[in-house]
Symmetry: C3
Subunit: 199 residues, 3 copies
């Protein structure tokens, strides 16, 4: 099951890489949709290989490398989001730092099998709340859809983290990774298609 | 003793994170004082956990993760310092690279228990001298205090490194980490309070 | 033999660091020639130490840390190349991301002894082709020499990777590292001397 999820992820993000590359080819500016898909493809190859994991007492594998890749991809997504929100310069740099901190402390929490992981999880959550509240506080017509997209698409990640083997262990690794795949499709492919249409 | 130092660090930098967040809330621009404190909090949590260490022949632990976090926090501090010194653009980028190299080679020296660590230490020191000489060469009235702050506050770090278990081992890990904590308070909290007053 | 190659690299890049530092001292802007040489010096110290390696079934060591350092140095080189090509802003950021992805997936391929390394190698090659084709598509008189320099100097790297223990294993580690040293001298010292003359 885990294998199927990761192979599906590899195929989907290989296709979306080609798609976003071709679509964004002649645009000036940063083709972040392509870079996000391409980096996510690399991330799925590594998870499919299955070496960068720790195993919980219940025998469930945790694929912690995911969160390091989110550090690279979600900062790229944040650049696009900030552009729509009209956030730039030093304020954008702050949002990028916060995004990187959320994902890095998420990685620390995922890699850690002791109870100390909850400290990392809390720190990560605090950074996340600060990040999202700053992004949502900027309101304009064009970015209304982005706000709801973030509120739903991004906030489900820590929720899955919480019920997955990384947190309370209410669901297994296979279901957790399937949910993450669906979220990845939503936040990295569907979002970028919609972004391309509005831009 | 080590535990007390790290718990004190966690509490202090948790408080300073909240303080700098609230103070810097309405300012435009990058709230680097908050980000520095927040990242230092994460660094102290990891040192308190005590997993990212090597142990010297004398049985003293070396907390090498500290230097990787300095790579992130000291580049942020350098942005503030450069602003006061009127350094920007490509020259600032060079200072940020040098700061990152100083801390990364410091990490290599800290992690290394063989004599080769002295090569890393020398390379780190060369980069440090180049960095500080460039920063101090820019003189203006408003930044006089910054120059003396760097000369004292930053230069004591490699000195502690030298006498700590990372270097000659003249002092133990507990005293070394206490000295680092005092330096962290001076360079990351007191400095940023002073910077906020002058800005 | 390996030792001689790495010691030669350390000496050469120590000398070129001093040279580029002195030459670039009074220039405004980023002294990237110096930073590239200095970082390459650190890279050769680590390879000479020989700890950051994996060993193939044929008993040949692979020095994978090289590719992580290329992630830092080749992005710096790309800044200089882009300047000559008149590429800046968001397009430059995209090239830097692509360069970093090429080197990071190169690192993944180098570190990996299983057949999956070919997936990483293919992904790295795709990113490389996209990178080079974008750089070469910009044509102007001043940068004609840069295009031929990249086509030869950079493209030989993946070719050595392919015949070295990292790939098909047609040549041994000593010869591979010697070839990389020659390429490093060509792409990081000779190129930067030439760049300094034209600028």
């Amino acid at each position: 099951m885990l294998d199927i999820v990761f192979i599906a992820g590899m195929i989907l993000f290989a296709i979306s890489s080609v798609y976003f590359y071709l679509v964004g080819r002649d645009k000036k500016g940063l083709n972040s949709a392509f870079l996000v898909s391409f980096l996510t493809l690399v991330s799925y190859v590594l998870m499919w290989q299955g070496k960068l994991t720790v195993t919980t007492q219940a025998g469930e594998p945790i694929f912690w490398s995911r969160w390091l890749f989110y550090g690279a991809t979600c900062t790229l997504l944040m650049v696009g989001i900030a552009q729509l929100k009209g956030i730039s310069g030093a304020k954008l740099v702050e949002l990028l730092y916060l995004t990187a901190i959320v994902m890095f402390t998420g990685f620390l929490a995922a890699r850690d099998l002791t109870n100390t992981r909850w400290i990392h999880f809390i720190i990560s959550s605090v950074a996340y709340v600060l990040l999202v509240s700053q992004v949502l506080s900027v309101k304009n017509k064009e970015s209304q859809w982005v706000s709801s997209y973030i509120l739903f698409g991004w906030t489900v990640f820590p929720f899955v983290f919480l019920i997955a083997p990384t947190g309370l262990g209410l669901i297994g690794a296979a279901l957790a990774e399937l949910l993450y795949l669906l979220l990845d499709i939503y936040t990295k492919i569907i979002f970028n298609i919609q972004l391309g249409r509005k831009a």
